[in-house]
Symmetry: C2
Subunit: 270 residues, 2 copies
């Protein structure tokens, strides 16, 4: 059991991470920082939700943040500029066709990207190529199948299942969080360590009730109403009933649970 008490696994550690988390971002990222002078690739930065946090926690590191979407990159750049960070450069690029020389980064960081890919190990393998031997790869993903709540509701679970199914139809995997360890091992990374980051929300944490249960998770489910009904996965009434029940978990006496997974592995020194 003692080996279980490493960063993030220890429940008290998880609790500490959660308690100090002003936002979800802290829960996920507070234990990531890169040494001064290191060169880090953020693959799939999107609109920069994590980029400002990375730059803030590692002011001496130099980040290259890539995304396939020019629009997303523009928004990410706007965010980091507004926060006054100059240690991030943005570049439009596809993970599957990286415009970088082999072993050109000291570390690689990938967050909420693999869930969208049909061949995650292939993507990790490509990313591993641009990582120098001895460098670390950090991967963060959620897992929608980790969701449970009080009051329990099969209608709410059905609504969540719509998002899982839509993501599957789009070639992704909304249950990928639990798979990080085997995926990273299959990629050939060594010393892989995965730690769950459970978001536990009860009425004693109104900030999380509002910020996570309502405005993050339930809002995300509500966001697929049209896609789910258009795809014939569910009828509108059943979907709405599920969303109503999800909202109830944010009322007094409600409880909501969701778990993210964070994996760190190292490229083998050859």
């Amino acid at each position: 059991m003692s080996e279980a008490y490493v960063h993030g696994y220890d429940p008290r550690e998880n609790e500490r991470l959660r308690d100090q988390a002003g936002t979800l971002v802290d829960l996920l990222h507070s234990d990531t920082s890169y040494p001064s002078g290191s060169v880090v690739l953020e693959a799939g930065c999107g609109v920069g939700a994590q980029t400002v946090t990375l730059a803030r926690r590692s002011p001496g590191a130099r980040f290259t943040s890539i995304d396939v979407s020019a629009d997303s990159l523009a928004e990410a750049k706007r965010k980091t500029d507004a926060a006054g960070f100059t240690n991030v450069q943005f570049q439009q690029a596809d993970i599957c066709a990286l415009p970088f020389a082999p072993e050109s980064f000291d570390h690689v960081f990938v967050c909420f990207v693999l869930e969208h890919l049909s061949r995650p190990v292939e993507a990790l393998t490509i990313l591993k190529r641009v990582l120098r031997p001895g460098g670390t790869m950090t991967v963060i993903e959620g897992d929608h199948g980790s969701t449970y709540f009080h009051p329990d509701s099969s209608a709410a679970h059905r609504a969540i299942q719509c998002l899982v199914e839509l993501q599957r139809l789009a070639g992704g995997n909304a249950l990928i969080g639990r798979q990080l360890y085997p995926l990273m091992v299959e990629t050939g990374l060594e010393a892989v360590h995965v730690s769950p980051r459970m978001v536990y929300v009860d009425s004693s944490r109104p900030d999380l009730v509002d910020g996570f249960t309502r405005k993050t998770f339930t809002a995300m489910i509500e966001g697929v109403r049209k896609s789910a009904t258009d795809a014939g996965l569910i009828d509108p009434e059943s979907f709405d009933a599920g969303v109503r029940d999800l909202r109830r978990t944010a009322e007094p006496g409600g409880v909501f649970c969701y778990t993210f997974f964070k994996g760190v592995g190292r490229k083998i020194q050859e």
Copy 2:
């Protein structure tokens, strides 16, 4: 639970509980210790799976450990005697008819008990009565709905659901872990704090693969095969398919997740 699944009666169940306490003891109990001289009620000690740990972590406290079953108490006493602890006294008693004066304990500890009760708040209220104002109540419960794994398997989820259903038919609630916060608040405890204790098991932790995934959780599900099929909840082939899939989560590349919840609250100073 049904008679086939009352904690501690069946020798195999007994062994399972011992294995469970062996691997989970730190996860669940490392942050529980009582001051020297304090008087603590352990309500529903069963075969003493937690009693030795309590006694060890609080050598200066005096424990009264109660259970309805004389057989379980005898086994619990054997365990604490064998471990050389003299700070525990055992007494046969029903939580719903406590033979103690009001406010006679400094602290109350209840672990894996509420899941079996149809009126958990009533039980907590009775326990609160024997707690002195300012004293703490600690409650630990699992939540079978917190179970997910890789490879995912609907057959495995159906087998688990049999145990949930059996416990419900017996008047209990196998999903009670997530409800600790609202239940403790409803009991009128103050400063209630609930923390999840997630057991995350991947191939990097062979001790947990064997001690938890195989010998605790999967063994527990296997243990209800006869009850589940006798009750017509599932056919034997489907049940066995579910158990086979659960076992696969303990093979290389498999991942298993389960969460316990621990709540601590205080009796209001009047």
